[in-house]
């Protein structure tokens, strides 16, 4: 085994991202292979949808966000633009492989990171009310239990006891002493506990490990794994630092713009890693909330409500911006401060599950999101 100097802490410092893979079909368990793959990029801190996808056609945008709106945005149509950080995503839009849902979010309005992040993973209506996540429940319904590539199992993937987890770091060859120690602890446990220790022992010596170095390489790794026959059907990458209360910036080099570039790199990494499997893939972003419409006194924004969701993948065949635009005037804002969310983002997640895992919308609505009347937006995204 090669000797790598990176510690986990160093990795996290460099990459600021974590990867989780799941949904490895088990031989003899999955009757029919689901039609596609689904990847989620979780943007923690609250991505500013108005910066990422500026609705320049709204006359109030520049009045309220003069210092937060890039002058260098790409015009998508007569109303919406795209932040210059999305160089790769723009190319995908030109190739009809990317879309945007705007003025959307999970139905959470209380602006707490902890609650919001829990809800965007849980997929219900109340924070901390679920012990499983929407993607885990969907994989369970599709009967594709799998592996989560992580030290912990993120809530979004919880939902089946057969799920496994693994952290994508190269572990130095274990010494005999270490192996003996694991064996000793293993013997002291019940059969189930013993199995877990055996897994740890096995993982510590496996050869196909990687040294993740940045979010894009994580995405590339995930894409490659998902492209293989029998590979995982789902992956989750988590990126933080979108909580720009001060000095948010407008352009690529601003604090928010830098984070948007990370998203762009991750999507590029996925495409590179997926190869031909790109054609049946869907990637979507999640964030716990958007940010206030009006910039604050320190050139930043506060926690808000509505944001934008980015979708990419070969499963998309027509690029578009999908929105029920609420307007940015004071009386059109949520509680006179936030972009209103007019599309329940769980509908978007449901459409992506329907496309990638082949589940029926009504089943997804009632059993994954516990909302039987969840609107279906499949046609708007994939037709």
């Amino acid at each position: 085994m090669p000797k790598f100097n990176l510690t986990r802490r160093e990795f996290l410092k460099v990459s600021g991202a974590s990867l989780f893979l799941a949904g490895v079909p088990l031989p003899g368990f999955t009757k029919n292979k689901p039609p596609g793959t689904i990847s989620v990029i979780m943007l923690e801190g609250g991505m500013d949808g108005l910066t990422a996808v500026p609705p320049f056609g709204d006359p109030n945008l520049l009045k309220m966000r003069k210092n937060l709106t890039s002058n260098n945005f790409l015009k998508l149509n007569s109303f919406f633009g795209l932040h210059p950080s999305f160089q790769y995503f723009a190319g995908l839009m030109a190739k009809n492989n990317a879309s945007i849902v705007h003025a959307t979010n999970f139905p959470y309005v209380l602006r707490s990171h902890f609650e919001g992040q829990n809800l965007m993973q849980g997929g219900g209506l109340s924070p901390f009310s679920d012990t499983t996540g929407w993607l885990g429940r969907a994989l369970d319904l599709a009967k594709v239990p799998g592996r989560s590539l992580s030290l912990d199992m993120p809530l979004v993937l919880r939902g089946m006891s057969d799920n496994d987890n693994f952290y994508p770091a190269s572990i130095k060859s274990s010494s005999d002493l270490m192996t003996q120690l694991i064996d000793t602890i293993s013997m002291a446990h019940s059969k189930e506990g013993s199995e877990i220790f055996k897994k740890v022992s096995k993982k510590s010596t496996q050869k196909d490990s990687i040294v993740p170095r940045n979010p894009a390489s994580l995405a590339k790794f995930a894409g490659k794994a998902m492209s293989r026959d029998g590979g995982p059907l789902s992956s989750v990458i988590k990126v933080d630092q979108f909580d720009t209360h001060a000095n948010q910036g407008a352009d690529e080099n601003g604090n928010h713009g830098t984070q948007l570039t990370l998203i762009d790199d991750i999507i590029a990494g996925y495409k590179e890693g997926l190869g031909d499997a790109w054609d049946r893939s869907i990637i979507l972003t999640l964030t716990e909330f958007g940010r206030t419409v009006l910039e604050n006194g320190t050139g930043g924004t506060e926690h808000g409500y509505g944001s934008a969701g980015l979708l990419a993948g070969g499963a998309i065949t027509k690029s578009r911006v999908i929105s029920q635009w609420p307007g940015l005037a004071k009386n059109e804002q949520f509680e006179k401060r936030d972009l209103m969310s007019t599309i329940d983002y769980r509908s978007v997640c449901a459409a992506c599950i329907e496309k990638s895992l082949g589940l029926d919308h009504d089943v997804i609505a009632s059993k994954v999101f516990y909302t039987p009347k969840l609107p279906r937006v499949y046609d708007q995204i994939f037709s």
């Binding site: 998508l76 190319g91 990687i210 170095r213 929105s323 029920q324």
Partner: protein, 264 residues
């Protein structure tokens, strides 16, 4: 005096009327309505108010989705109506690029190792060969011509198949930090061999030594070109050693030394 009295009377009347027209529960939070409804499920006042706000109560609490629909304006009610009305209010904004922008976007080179080889004449008739290589630094700080350093930044083998160039399994960077990941020499290399023996393209290139505990540095992605100071590979006599110069930064570049080539 008389005017003041009239004005006072008018204000009192307006206040009285306003008070009577305002609903008794208007300033109650949704949860309070649901809480009282839980206590008195048949109370007509609470029932009317819950209906007015379209509240969905569960265990004495208003569900979160209802919060959205009751605390906002016309847009919220539209969201609410969508639940039973199949998203009729959603608009599709088609993405429309001008022909020039579309061409620029479709031609856009994004990957750090993407390179347009069309301007080079690549070799295509070379038998599979394998060579040894090292990369050494050339420092330009004290001399325009550069001062080569004779310690190896990277070393290993190079395999040439047609014009394709790959670094062999045992190849590695010796710069510490991120460079210890051998995948950089597999995944982040896009170089080819020209018919006159030069390497062209792009590859990840580590410029600084990183010691344990130091913050890792990302590699640079210099372009390998036909450098005027290079001594290219002699494809008619592959046993000859070659020196391929690489421009990296102002203060330092590199030399890839190729030796001991043999046909496979």
């Amino acid at each position: 005096m008389k005017l003041k009295r009239i004005l006072l009377t008018v204000l009192l009347v307006i206040g009285f009327i306003g008070k009577n027209f305002a609903g008794p529960y208007d300033d109650w939070p949704d949860d309070s309505i649901c809480g009282w409804l839980e206590q008195k499920p048949t109370h007509t006042g609470y029932l009317r108010e819950a209906k007015k706000r379209s509240l969905t109560c569960d265990g004495g609490k208003a569900l979160k989705s209802s919060v959205k629909t009751t605390t906002t304006n016309k847009n919220t009610s539209a969201t609410k109506s969508k639940a039973s009305n199949a998203n009729s209010d959603i608009t599709i904004y088609e993405v429309v690029f001008s022909p020039a922008v579309l061409k620029e976007l479709l031609d856009r080179v994004i990957s750090k190792t993407d390179y347009d080889f069309s301007k080079h004449k690549l070799t295509n008739n070379v038998k599979d060969i394998q060579c040894r290589f090292t990369i050494n630094r050339v420092v330009y700080e004290n001399s325009e011509l550069g001062v080569p350093e004779y310690w190896d930044m990277a070393q290993g083998t190079i395999n040439v198949k047609g014009s394709e160039i790959e670094f062999g399994e045992g190849s590695y960077w010796k710069m510490g930090g991120l460079s210890t990941d051998k995948n950089y020499l597999k995944d982040e290399v896009n170089i080819k061999l020209t018919e006159d023996g030069h390497f062209v393209g792009k590859m990840a290139y580590f410029t600084h030594t990183i010691k344990q505990g130091e913050v890792p540095r990302e590699p640079l992605y210099p372009t390998l070109t036909k450098h005027k100071r290079s001594k290219p590979i002699n494809l008619k006599s592959i046993g000859d050693s070659a020196e391929l110069w690489i421009d990296v930064e102002d203060w330092a570049g590199g030399i890839m030394r190729i030796s001991r080539c043999k046909y496979l």
